[in-house]
């Protein structure tokens, strides 16, 4: 952080109060400092915060929240800002409370299989800091090298391996939370399960930072599986690949991961940093991983190979060593970022469908692509029906951003219409708030906003997110080329 800049503006009274709490250097309020907080990984909507406050402790968070409450100024918690739905994006005038400096591991108790971390602790760091003892933290969003566990809790993030191991909510044992009135509560004390009372742990996880600010997290850690094998299967017909997915599940196998990519996505990852040498003329590939007790893995791999062959696979192979497996995964995890190599801009969608409807939904997405004259790449967690259509566009061509947003929304409609959901892991945020209407009635959303009012009665904490705003229509602010430095998706050059 460069604090040597010449100050042109004086802090106003509110900023001064915040400085009194956390220290002068820990508050940004100048426009040039605030620019990179205009949005998160979703760049189609931007707003200027009033200030950014870097807190170091729960007491800081509580004092800042109390102050902003008195001043009636809205505020937003922010982790790494990798969110893909605009959750940490200001609509204008909010104070951002950045938790990146609260990044310590506070406690590790492997015998009871839990760890306590501060919210700014980076996801991947957790696994790295316990892997020498044979343990890991299961939820593995592709942004895991950057995103924070606090952000993961807020979004209830998933990852490639949540097919077998579950998403964030299945791994959270306890939370310390600063409520919007500044009060500090502890739920799931010491990580002991099933505490008497309504399941606030479950309610807060995935609440997109609208019910409270998480300041401490107790997570479950798992033992590394003894064995692991990875299969790559190339298909000439995407329907065959989809059918193979269904048959693997029907065979009673629960792979650790079961991922699919279509030809446009493959074009992207092959042009990016970790090319594998996938044939360019295939329709799709499946990346399948099985883990667990080593003695039981070969049988499962044999069955998977049989299923693949039975479904007209062109070529199928098992990773020969850790290096090859690592390359396949790096290539796959590049997914989003790799789109930058084949398109100036892209919009990531996040629909979920019953996995058996895959072929039908892919057909409809192809129609949407045709209708809007935009290429759509498909990357998905096929095993649990979580699709990531990536809509490729060029924001510098007038009208394309709007068309991309509409195409994205239509993809979600298709998912909703087959009994699915508009988001599997990226959250609603700003982006999909209008689309909430695809799956919930007004009464159902009111039931939810009523619960919000219990925690956040004045709606000062992250207002305007998650639920459709009165009279809302799709509004797009141009993500101009010049802003590219503030686009975390491209900046990080990796994606899921």
């Amino acid at each position: 952080m460069n604090r040597k800049k010449h100050r042109r503006e004086k802090p106003d009274a509110v900023v001064q109060r915040l400085m009194n709490i956390v220290g002068e250097r820990e508050v940004f309020y100048l426009k040039e400092d605030l620019i990179s907080y205009e949005c998160d990984g979703y760049t189609m909507s931007k707003g200027m915060p009033k200030a950014v406050v870097f807190v170091k402790s729960t007491e800081h968070v509580s004092a800042v929240v109390r102050c902003l409450n008195e001043e009636k100024i809205p505020y937003i918690a922010r982790g790494a800002g990798t969110g893909l739905s605009g959750g940490a994006t200001p609509l204008g005038g909010e104070v951002i409370i950045s938790l990146v400096r609260m990044k310590r591991m506070l406690h590790l108790d492997l015998e009871n299989r839990k760890a306590v971390v501060e919210p700014g602790f980076i996801n991947l760091k957790l696994t790295q800091s316990i892997s020498d003892k044979g343990y890991y933290y299961a939820p593995d969003p592709s942004s895991q090298y950057a995103c924070t566990i606090g952000g993961n809790v807020a979004e209830n993030s998933g990852g490639a391996h949540c097919l077998k191991y579950g998403v964030t909510t299945n791994h959270i044992l306890g939370l310390e939370v600063v409520l919007p009135n500044g009060e500090v509560i502890e739920i799931g004390e010491e990580g002991i399960p099933d505490q008497p009372g309504y399941d606030l742990l479950g309610l807060l996880t995935g609440s997109e930072g609208t019910l409270g600010i998480v300041t401490k997290i107790t997570v479950k850690v798992l033992k590394n599986p003894e064995g692991k094998k990875t299969v790559l299967a190339y298909y000439d017909d995407i329907n065959d690949a989809s059918q193979a997915v269904s048959e693997i599940i029907a065979a009673g196998i629960i792979p650790a991961a079961l991922e699919m990519m279509d030809s446009i996505a493959i074009e992207g990852v092959e042009s990016a940093a970790y090319p594998v040498g996938h044939p360019r003329d295939i329709a799709a590939f499946l990346l399948i991983e099985v883990d667990g007790i080593a003695a039981g893995i070969d049988d499962q791999i044999d069955e998977i190979l049989t299923v693949c062959k039975h479904n007209n696979v062109r070529e199928v192979k098992v990773a020969k060593d850790e290096a090859e497996r690592g390359l396949w995964w790096a290539n796959r995890k590049m997914g989003f970022g790799a789109m930058g190599a084949i398109s100036p801009d892209y919009l990531v969608q996040d629909g979920v469908i019953p996995r058996t409807r895959l072929p039908e939904v892919l057909g409809k997405i192809a129609e949407i692509s045709k209708k809007y004259e935009l290429r759509i790449a498909n990357i998905f967690h096929a095993g649990d029906g979580n699709l990531h259509p990536l809509i490729l566009f060029d924001a510098s061509i007038p009208g394309q951003s709007e068309r991309a947003a509409k195409a994205g929304s239509e993809c979600l409609k298709v998912c909703a219409d087959v009994g699915g959901s508009i988001t599997g892991e990226h959250g609603v945020g700003i982006e999909k708030s209008a689309e909430m209407r695809f799956i919930f009635s007004d009464a159902e959303m009111t039931a939810q906003t009523n619960i919000r009012a219990v925690f956040n009665p004045e709606d000062l904490l992250n207002p305007g997110k998650l639920f459709p705003q009165p009279g809302q229509c799709v509004e797009i602010k141009q993500a101009g080329q010049g802003d590219r430095s503030t686009v975390p998706v491209n900046a990080m050059g990796r994606g899921d």
């Binding site: 399960p193 399941d199 629960i254 007790i293 649990d384 619960i451």
Partner: protein, 438 residues
Amino acid sequence: MIASYLDGILPKEQIRINDELRHPLGNGGLQLIEANSEEDISKVLAFAYSHNKTVNVISGGTKRGFGGENERADILLSLANYKGIVEHSVGDLTMTVKPGTTLKEITDELHKHGQRVALDASWPELATIGGIIAANDSGPKRLLYGSARDLVIGTRIVYPDGNVVRTGGKVVKNVAGYDMNKLFIGSMGTLGIISEITIKLRPLPKYEGLSLLQFPIGKEQDIREFSIKILDSMAEPVSLEILNPSIAEKMTGNRQDTLAISFEDREKAVLDQENWVETHLPFGGEHVVLHEEDARQWWEKFRHFGPNGYHDTESEADTQAALKVGSNNLDVLVNMVAADNLAAEHHVAVEAHGGIGHGISRIYVKGLPEDIVSYTRALRDKVKEKSGYVVCTHLPFILREAVGVWGEKPGYFALLEGIKRTNDPKNILNRNRFVGGI
């Protein structure tokens, strides 16, 4: 006589006066109404809401002894007839089911397709899925498969005013809006009536094995060391349940501390893990292995311990209670010892088991009412020393107030009250059934 105010809400044959006014477990109602559909539930609640009538909800009745400081409400609404599978999407491994369906009915149906709901709660032929979820019941295998909160992906809820609200959805991964499913799991029906449940399924295991490890009395330290070792090994046990000597005697014939370690996987993987157990056997420990049908039958029997709402006797000396203890995983062992030691001190008989890998223990107590009260208090004090809690999942009505079903209110009780008030502003549903009198 049927109260005239109920006239015309539902057909007469679904309403009758409740002749069981003084049920020993309370949680009754003056008028018994049978719901056969969601619409029935909705009509009854809409009526009750607008006429300020209180409603208790019952299905299988196995949890009638769980919470509740009012002997009866105006209406006892039974969902026992509202049962059946709405949809089983075999390829998606999901199922939508009505709340009055028993766990056994679900299990039998799924079995035909090689699938199951991974919930091994007690009394499966009596307990309904709605009740299991509302009470958040679980069994030893939650160690690997999780509990209701990990399995339920969607519900339909009839709110106290009669409106129906859907929560979650029908897909296995979903973060749209708040995870409202969670509010209703374990809420003891105080926020709304669950009228439909969509749940994630698992394939039946290809092979299953059960390792029973019997330890001479007084070898707690050995059990602890062995447990730490297996949890830190390559093994992936589905259960790591410690049985106290009295429950072990009924299960195995031997009055010894016993570990029940389940493995479910490919045959080779199961055998490999059993082999690990065999080669790491502590000195003096005895290892008995059961496979497939034998293992399944053993667990089947295991699920029939503890009170089930139908076995409470008239005899005071045989008063029954069931306690759910939550603790840090390894403190389960400490609590097991405490449960047995305190039993002797307080003149009660105790059968107990607990999951060393998941932190939930179940303690079934029999004795005189006053001894049950003093036992529970003493155990609660002991468990609290290590931040644990004790909830009484079964107690006769007359003892509930004295013992305190839920223990102390949590520090954030105001939020729980706020949620209750939001969903049920007139406080008509299962009043006083939950934490802090909610």
